[in-house]
């Protein structure tokens, strides 16, 4: 079997010990790597019902069979844990040299359990593990931490670090590597709860592939295609160019989802940013696309994506470019998820305007208020910032009144920059997502931006089609390749099978990979079921089901509890789940998930 070490490294921070645990070929073939294998590992290594911030909780760094090959965009890793924001499974991806060095350290995954007695760094070098004190790093921002670790350990080590937000257990803290974040769901808080400031990896243990000639051919072909029109937007403009398109389509969440258009959108547009502020373009290791566009702010240069731009700009009613860029830079350095941070501040702005929250007169458009709040949230400096560090779900419950109706989250995870009322297949994707409101594990918006569905009126047919986008995401996130490459494939499952065949040597087919993808999606669901999921969680905040939008075509776009439920029912049916969203024993058998379902509380009725 090529592409794998066939083992994971289990590190117990309580005792400071580590041991390899074998991964059978059956497990690897069923779950591949990345989020798939990470899900399997979390099932096995995280006790049922565990508090995500307890020392027993597991934090999984998972590599993949493609890491280390010359295939473009394959230098990626997944981080998987039970989320302190959603209390459900959370998987986030990040890129670059940490993935390459991590796999060369000798394992297909790192599973970290326990907690250090004092702030520490975990150092893994060719499978040898040591824990070193890191008191002098505690309190430092992510970029400075990375810089000091580079000086202390040298260039062969690559680090995943937390900023102050992770140390202070902010429920949407990130883990960053070279300023790229495993951003969503508070994985930085899980690492902070273990008093781990950083994980460093280095090694020399390369893994052979089954058919090196074919892998090189495939890599050459994929690189060639990555220069083509399917990725031009990412190379030339970056995702910030979404802003004006979404604004025109009344799909740009504005002022905490009260509107779908922002009157200052032109000022924040990717086009104007690129003209006035772009200073460089960068890429992850092993990538021929290079989608990372770097912009200048008055506090330094910052990488900016659409999601950060929408959340720190229109969602907060802020149209000042420099404020948005500075806020994004702050989030990066503090280790805050930009989407949840922006959404939480936007929510606080609305609560303050409605008199539900005393917040120093915080209002939409208050750029200084945003810039003042972010560092306070990251360090939980006062009562207000401590409340907002909990995310919108918990904050809304504490604020009371009708605040929960407009707290913009699903399962605790704040919504990304897609207005659900004018992108109704995406609304379904948000409602049923295993990690909450999420645009990376469901590409349902692709259907909204197509002739196949009516984005203003969701339908059962669209909901059924949305499963395909989830399946593709599950596979691409488990192999792992970058999603920005997805447009270059003409037959994604067949071409993925070809790549995996040449790397692993398995006689794997497109059909098998379709089943693998379905298995991974359902494995995540089983984890959530184990942790208490019921179908009452698969919904949207009342705002989206009770309030319409007031401009242009968006006035036609009504989403109701009933119309959402019709889509959810169709989605469950397309997944082969029962009408209440539970997973039947028959499906568990069909998808070979029995080893993950031992504690499945559901029994066929």
């Amino acid at each position: 079997m090529g592409g794998y070490h066939g083992r994971y490294l289990r590190i117990d921070l309580n005792s400071g010990t580590a041991n390899y645990v074998a991964l059978s070929e059956s497990v690897l073939r069923r779950f591949l790597g990345g989020v798939g294998l990470g899900t399997w590992l979390l099932h096995h290594e995280s006790p049922a019902g565990v508090d995500p911030l307890a020392r027993e909780a597991a934090l999984v760094f998972c590599f993949s069979p493609l890491v280390g090959t010359p295939l473009t965009t394959s230098a990626k890793f997944a981080v998987v844990a039970k989320s302190p924001l959603t209390f459900r499974l959370n998987d986030a991806l990040s890129s670059s040299h940490f993935a390459l060095a991590g796999k060369r350290s000798g394992a297909d995954a790192l599973v970290i359990v326990g907690a250090c007695a004092a702030p520490s760094v975990l150092v893994i070098e060719d499978g040898a593990v040591r824990i070193e004190p890191a008191g002098e790093l505690w309190g430092l921002e992510s970029d400075e931490t990375t810089r000091q670790l580079g000086e202390r350990f040298g260039p062969e080590f690559h680090s995943a670090v937390i900023g102050p937000a992770g140390e202070h257990l902010v429920r949407y803290a990130t883990i960053s590597h070279a300023n790229r974040h495993a951003g969503r769901g508070g994985l930085g808080a899980v690492m902070g709860s273990k008093r781990l400031k950083a994980v460093l990896v280095a090694g020399t243990q390369r893994v052979a592939v089954a058919d090196p000639t074919r892998v090189i051919e495939a890599a050459r072909d994929l690189s060639q295609r990555s220069f083509g029109p399917a990725t031009a937007k990412y190379r030339e403009l970056g995702t910030v160019s979404n802003l004006l398109t979404f604004n025109r389509l009344h799909a740009l969440p504005t002022r905490n989802f009260q509107q779908g258009q922002f009157e200052q959108a032109e000022n924040l547009s990717g086009e104007s940013l690129n003209a006035a502020r772009r200073v460089a373009r960068e890429s992850c290791a092993s990538c021929t696309i290079g989608c990372e566009h770097i912009y200048s702010s008055s506090n330094g240069n910052v990488r900016l994506e659409y999601e950060s731009l929408f959340a720190l700009g229109p969602l907060c009613g802020i149209g000042d470019r420099d404020v948005v860029l500075r806020a994004a830079l702050m989030c990066d350095r503090l280790g805050l998820d930009t989407i949840s941070a922006g959404a939480t501040v936007a929510f606080a702005m609305e609560c303050s305007e409605r008199g539900l929250l005393k917040a120093d007169g915080l209002r939409f458009g208050d750029g200084e208020g945003l810039l003042s709040l972010l560092p306070r949230i990251a360090r939980r400096e006062d009562g207000l910032s401590d409340l907002l560090a909990e995310g919108t779900r918990i904050a809304a419950a504490r604020i009371g009144g009708d605040a929960p109706d407009f707290a913009p989250h699903v399962k605790g995870l704040e919504l990304p920059g897609y207005e659900p009322r004018t992108l109704q297949t995406m609304a379904l994707g948000f409602a049923v997502g295993s990690r909450g409101a999420d645009h990376n594990r469901s590409g349902a918006y692709e259907l909204d931006f197509s002739t196949v569905t009516d984005r203003l009126h969701g339908s059962p047919a669209a909901a059924a089609l949305a499963t395909e986008t989830e399946d593709k995401a599950a596979l691409i996130d488990s192999m792992i390749l970058c999603k920005f490459l997805r447009g270059v494939f003409t037959d994604f499952f067949a071409e993925s099978a070809d790549l995996l065949r040449s790397v692993t040597g398995w006689d794997i087919s497109a059909e098998e990979l379709r089943t693998t993808a379905r298995r991974i999606v359902t494995a995540k669901k089983l984890y959530n079921v184990r942790e208490g999921w019921t179908n009452s969680e698969d919904t949207l905040p009342r705002r989206f089901l009770n309030e319409g939008l007031s401009t242009g075509v968006s006035t036609e776009a009504t989403l109701t509890r009933e119309s959402l439920q019709i889509m959810i029912d169709a989605y469950y049916a397309a997944r082969g789940w029962n009408p209440d969203g539970q997973v039947s024993n028959a499906l568990i058998g069909e998808l070979q998930l029995a080893d993950l379902a031992a504690e499945n509380p559901y029994r066929d009725r």
């Binding site: 029109p229 399917a230 031009a232 937007k233 990412y234 030339e236 403009l237 995702t239 160019s241 979404n242 004006l244 398109t245 979404f246 025109r248 389509l249 009344h250 990717g270 086009e271 994506e305 659409y306 999601e307 990304p416 920059g417 897609y418 645009h439 990376n440 590409g443 918006y445 692709e446 931006f449 197509s450 002739t451 009516d454 984005r455 203003l456 447009g487 242009g552 075509v553």
Partner: protein
């Protein structure tokens, strides 16, 4: 007979290629409108595939209301056609 006056709004890659936000053309169908845009902005020639259909890297929306791919779709005076990058999401 005069052909209807159509405004084509450009977003993302189409705007970057054309170097303009919108183009006003006379056209009776979506395909005619695109052909007029290509005359004004030859860098958008790849909007058509070799067989004359819409290239997969582009999306067309009729006034933000409805996505269209049928290039024979008729247009009326005052219609606004949005030309977008196909990968409109993240």
């Amino acid at each position: 007979m005069n052909r209807p006056t159509i405004t084509i709004e450009l977003f993302g890659m189409p705007r970057a290629r054309a170097g303009t936000k919108e183009v006003v053309v006379s056209a009776s169908t979506v395909g005619e409108a695109l052909a007029e845009v290509v005359k004004v902005s030859p860098k958008l020639a790849d909007v058509f595939r070799a067989d004359g259909s819409l290239s997969p890297q582009y999306l067309l929306s009729l006034d933000g209301q409805q996505f269209v791919s049928d290039l024979t779709h008729p247009l009326r005076s005052g219609d606004r056609l949005l030309l977008l990058s196909a990968d409109a999401g993240g």
